[in-house]
Symmetry: C2
Subunit: 228 residues, 2 copies
Amino acid sequence: MKNLRDVESELRKHILFSALTPEQLTLVARHSRIVHLVEGEILFQQDQPAERFFRLCSGQIKLSRLSMEGTEHVIEVVHPGQPFAEAVLFMKKRVFPVNAEALMPCDVLAVDSAIFLQILYDSRETCFRLMADMSYRLHIFVNEIDNLTLQNATFRLVHHLLQQIRDCKAETADIELVTSKQILASRLSIKPETFSRILKTLSQQGLLTVNGRTIHIRDVQGLRCFGS
Amino acid sequence: MKNLRDVESELRKHILFSALTPEQLTLVARHSRIVHLVEGEILFQQDQPAERFFRLCSGQIKLSRLSMEGTEHVIEVVHPGQPFAEAVLFMKKRVFPVNAEALMPCDVLAVDSAIFLQILYDSRETCFRLMADMSYRLHIFVNEIDNLTLQNATFRLVHHLLQQIRDCKAETADIELVTSKQILASRLSIKPETFSRILKTLSQQGLLTVNGRTIHIRDVQGLRCFGS
């Protein structure tokens, strides 16, 4: 068992506690603890009352459900820094919807749900600060997902173009699209507007030019290095 | 100006209204409107009181700030489906921190901040439902970001490995890492634990085997197609 200060410092990393005053945080810390699990140890089981919610400090936790036929279905593997079972907190029926099992030795921050909910019930101001934080974080995340999706789509498109170049040593190349740009975009799981955005960026960087269905790669080596 | 039902259907897509009852939603809709902007039109200016917050239905909006020296700094380009200026809602000083300008013709859902805040003040239950929704959405987003980051890291590593293969027609290849795996991971901006996770996945799929600093690519063509 670690001391109160360690627990407080772990709590500060959890998004749900960003809005708490130092006094509220200390109160939560007094009702929280760091749990050590060995490999294979069960943290909680499906349908058990959810009196705590968690953040993984280190290790790996598997969340799984048993199907009606008794086969295990892995819902998620939790990595360090991720909160889990925190959505149950606000649910009417507070039971764990999954099993949680340590895949390796783990340190888990376990927080008392009732104490945290009481703080929110007692202070509308804290609720509003928390909603502000969550709304800000959601905003950041939406942008991050947008950027990452764009990066992934760019990788897929660049990879597809490079695959069409037969001559490994070529410095430039012309690629004739056999289908329309719409169909290619859809085959690469890229939204049409994102597809256009990527081609525009690549051409602004002098890597290629687009002329109808012909894509002229102006700098094959540059395209190979793109984004790496 | 569209009718109330159009506004309500746009509102339902905005995360902040997921928790509202039908009656509350109608009340918000009565105080919301769809604003049409032409290219270059200003929606709001920096330091103006923020009486509304928004969701972009179609088009593109540029959010920018003027620096002390008077040069424009683009903070963000908003794409359809994204909310914006919603974080101001919960702030003490409710003024827009940026300028918003239409980069092309836009449809923007504009919501009255005061009405929405009043609903939250009047109903703790709505606050709790909203916090539940936001916390759930944050959870989903954290996982999505984790997945996308992993995909990106995988693309970067696969791309790096393929670049080391000189013979274009080779079916298998041995790559000697000239640096340690830690240094390579850092050069590719991949966290060491993610790096190991990716190598493990690729070897589980029979694409490669790792032996100290030698990476044996068992299926070059398979690796080329990976993730595309």
